[in-house]
């Protein structure tokens, strides 16, 4: 390869990205020197929309911030509003919410495991993992009526109760999922071709993970002990014993193992929650408007820490509702991971933080079909390359 570098645009439309985001990789041969991030292609102006809808309507809009972790966002929103209204949610509702949240974590992690396998060309694992993910989707459909976008919560509790036969199905399903997850862990540890593509790739050292405020499995794979279910417990997580999974090899392989272990942990949480399910009502009546004030709520979504900030002015519409989805927390560390790697590693490193673009983009009201054509000027890059080689 000649001395000059050239830019490889990954995105906005690219087979490795399920949703459009745009990276400009300055590449010298296969090695990546610089990464520039550009987001906003599926931006739907969520926060402006929140301000023009009532708290009841927002419950369904907040759910559509992300198609995969819908329950996570809605639970975070409901916790936030309920704590500002100061209403007491019955314990049975807390347990049902925890069960559905954990089922969603299983479905999201298995979905990611399949996509990651596909990224490195292992389509067989992709097929098997997505077949087993169907068990968790069917269970969620049984409980809430929908595979995803379940609308399981309402202000003050849960909308549907768990009947005895759903509980027996839950027990059977979680046992099968645990066996399969353990099998995939064995595969992940022993299959050499996966290790070749995942071990030592996309390194995010502990110091960078803390400094760049990475969240979720990405940061736990670098040894950082941060899990909202532990440091700021909500719903029934303070009563349910489960352990915090961290690995410290800081690479894509560690992220695979963290997620598979968390799937196994989720099945244990579900089993505990079922056997200790308290009886009683599943919801209380909630007023329509929220007293003026502020509220911050945190939640451990499958991809990481999800934070909501609400400022209310006493009416039935929020004055300001800020959502920062987990993926936005990981983009800064993503750029750090890519530099120094190979172009061939971009898809798996990118997929390793399990980016959920629809979560990240929801700020302003913009129809962002960026008709930007990608012209790469060699001069500017050559200057950049000289600076790079000069260093």
């Amino acid at each position: 390869m000649s001395e000059s570098t050239y830019t490889v645009p990954i995105g906005p439309q690219h087979p490795a990205l399920k949703e459009p985001e745009n990276f400009t990789l300055t590449v010298d041969g296969e090695e990546i020197i610089d990464v520039k991030i550009r987001l906003g292609y599926v931006h739907r102006g969520g926060e402006k929309a929140f301000e023009s809808r009532t708290y009841v309507q927002n419950m369904y809009l907040i759910e559509r911030v992300c198609g995969i972790c819908a329950m996570a966002h809605q639970l975070c929103y409901v916790n936030n509003i309920e704590s500002m209204m100061e209403i007491e949610v019955p314990p049975r509702a807390h347990y049902i919410r925890t069960i559905v949240a954990e089922l969603e974590r299983i479905h999201s992690h298995l979905l990611w495991l399949g996509v990651a396998a596909h990224e490195i060309g292992f389509d067989t694992l992709f097929m098997y993992v997505w077949r087993d993910r169907e068990i968790s989707l069917d269970l969620m459909e049984e409980i809430t009526g929908n595979r995803v976008l379940h609308a399981a919560n309402t202000l003050g509790g849960v909308r549907r109760d768990l009947s005895t036969d759903i509980i027996s199905k839950l027990r059977k399903g979680s046992k099968i999922i645990r066996e399969r997850a353990e099998y995939y862990k064995k595969i992940g540890l022993t299959e050499k071709t996966i290790l070749k593509r995942a071990a030592g790739v996309g390194i995010l050292p502990y110091k960078d993970a803390v400094e760049l405020c990475a969240v979720g499995p990405t940061t736990r794979a670098s040894g950082v002990k941060k899990d909202v279910r532990k440091f700021d417990p909500y719903s029934a997580y303070d009563e349910i014993p489960f352990d915090l999974i961290t690995y410290d090899s800081c690479d894509v392989a560690a992220r695979i193992y963290v997620r598979v272990d968390e799937t196994i942990e989720s099945t244990k949480i579900i089993d505990y929650a079922i056997s200790h399910l308290p009886s009683g009502p599943i919801g209380v009546k909630a007023p329509r408007s929220v007293p003026p004030g502020e509220g911050v709520s945190l939640l451990e979504a499958p991809r990481g820490e999800d934070i909501h900030y609400c400022k209310s002015n006493g009416t039935d519409k929020p004055e300001r509702y800020k959502v920062r989805a987990p993926t936005l927390g990981n983009w800064a560390s993503m750029a750090r991971m890519l530099i120094g790697g190979y172009v061939a590693d971009v898809p798996i490193t990118l997929a390793a933080i399990d980016p959920c673009m629809s979560c990240t983009d929801r700020m302003t009201f913009v129809d962002a079909n960026s008709d930007k054509t990608w012209t790469w000027s060699l001069e500017r890059l050559r200057k950049h390359a000289k600076k790079f080689y000069g260093r």
């Binding site: 809808r53 369904y60 077949r131 169907e134 409980i143 609308a151 909308r159 549907r160």
Partner: protein
């Protein structure tokens, strides 16, 4: 080589996928499908219109003599209207394949398709 035993084990087994158009899929009873109004019970209070997150409901006329218009393309099938209705006049059926090529009777401002639930002529 780690998955070889798994692959061969599945060679003879029945595939996990169903052949959709030929093998039918039955919705489970918890399923939230097409919205239907029981206009006998409806008192025209409009809470469902106020609560609908997708603005998919419209009232034709006023109070007790109104008819209800429902836009299937806008509706997100969340079931909030079923929950908010004080008279339980709204029900969600199990019907799910709602797309068809039926022409739109009333053009209206948008070419969106809607279903009108008429008040029963009981007087």
């Amino acid at each position: 080589m780690a998955m070889e035993s798994e692959l061969l084990r599945h060679l003879g087994k029945k595939p996990a996928t169903i052949v959709y158009p030929f093998e039918k899929w039955e919705p489970i009873d918890a399923f939230r499908g097409k919205v239907e109004f029981d206009m006998a019970k409806c008192i025209g209070c409009g809470i469902c219109i106020h609560d609908c997150p997708a603005f998919a409901l419209e009232m034709v006329g006023k109070g007790l003599t109104c008819d209800m218009k429902w836009y299937p393309s806008r509706c997100i099938y969340c079931g909030q209207c079923v929950e908010s209705c004080p008279r339980n006049a709204i029900v969600q059926t199990h019907e799910w394949n709602l797309s068809d090529s039926q022409s739109v009777e009333d053009a209206g401002k948008s070419s969106e398709r809607w279903i009108l639930f008429k008040r029963p002529k009981s007087e």
